[in-house]
Assembly symmetry: C2
Homo-oligomer: 245 residues x 2
């Protein structure tokens, strides 16, 4: 099975890096706080970060008391930046697709993945491998694009009113799972759509117990300062899930 | 809190009864098989049917070996039909809103609710009361309108192409939970929208363990015989959930 590595594409890499450097991006305001809110106490824990990118989260887990963090990413270009910008003696960066984690010798107390699972074709297999890498009572938490986003398969995403405001999300093919091609800095970024029920059932069938789901929405305060995020009430961008072995 | 009883409205009642008598309705083809597929072995079990309507499901649970079935419904008119058409010495029909089940003395092994929870305003309270009425290891399973349906708050539900085919579901306000008014045989049928994550988190916070979610879709065989159901691939009509105490 092809393991997609768009992040080593230089055009994608530059576009993505600039986006992540913007303070007011949706990741920083909605996804990251929600993800971190689900973290258990990391003191003395061993953490695996799947799709660690530039390694900022790995550093955060160390700051939260983690004993050791292993960050894996399919993109060597991302890991080069991680090794320069977020270097720490207790962090190990490994260039590896997350489909291959059974090759890692260690076991972990916590596995975290931020916005990477929607690139994975065989979700059941990745979840099974994570389950096997976790110690008993271990926690997996992840964020991904919301299924209301991943189902999109071309055409206009929104219907707008006469003032250009977003009125409706043009939702189609929610029940059609599988590959979607999209343009995000570069052509042919492949994502994989799964319904809410498939995501949850896959986790349960693997043996995990569901502890929490989050679809982050703006608070009133966020809306006051950044009204551009009001359309998240039509369609949340993210889905976060916390499960326990 | 007002407990809605549209089913005793004679216009609604007649329209609804005719709909349910059609063999090819979505309930019979998608919702009922999915609900029954989630049933545990009922042999010797005590079953509570919340929103039992005409009592057909109560009779099915008896046929599946249940020792005793209590069917509750807010509509006395529905229960009159149930007592005539689906009468059995081991079925007790009680005219009661599901918000009031703590008044029932018995405990149950299985609680089932078919297409009623989207009428409930205080879902957390109903779930808590069901939890308390279940024996240890007891099962709750329910169907409701899919959150992609319940979020609808007026206007056209679909954008159609030049041939009148459904092209997009006009999705808005998925993140805005709470009351929706709709027209279904009569004006002002009140439903309550909750996101997938709110439904799942409410069950978990009450103490339930999530066992399965289903968003029923047509099989190829169903589509061959009834192509009119292809639009369920844009938006499933139903959500089913099975949880265990």
């Amino acid at each position: 099975m092809a393991k997609q590595n768009i992040y080593d594409n230089p055009i994608f890499f530059d576009g993505y890096k600039k986006l992540r450097e913007k303070e007011k991006n949706a990741n920083n305001i909605f996804e990251k706080p929600a993800l971190f809110s689900l973290l258990p106490n990391l003191s003395g824990k061993r953490v695996l970060d799947l799709g660690c990118g530039f390694g900022e989260h790995c550093m955060y887990y160390i700051a939260q008391g983690a004993d050791a963090v292993v960050g894996i990413d399919i993109s060597e270009k991302m890991l080069q930046a991680a090794r320069e910008e977020n270097n720490h003696p207790n962090i190990t960066y490994i260039n590896m697709p997350m489909e291959d984690i059974s090759q890692i010798d260690d076991k972990f107390d916590v596995a975290v993945s931020s916005l990477a699972f929607h690139y994975v074709e065989d979700f059941a297999n990745v979840v099974k491998n994570i389950y096997e890498k976790l110690n008993d009572n271990g926690v997996l938490l992840f964020s991904q694009e919301n299924p209301l986003c991943t189902c999109h398969s071309g055409g206009d995403r929104w219907t707008r009113d006469e003032n250009g405001e977003k009125k409706y999300l043009n939702l189609a093919d929610y029940g059609v799972e599988g590959e979607r091609e999209s343009v995000w800095f570069v052509d042919n970024v492949k994502k994989y759509h799964r319904t809410f029920s498939t995501i949850i059932n896959t986790l349960i069938d693997t043996g995990f117990v569901i502890e929490k789901m989050i679809e982050p929405l703006p608070t009133k305060e966020i809306l006051r300062n950044m009204p551009e995020f009001k359309d998240l009430y039509h369609k949340p961008d993210f889905l976060l899930v916390k499960v326990r072995k």
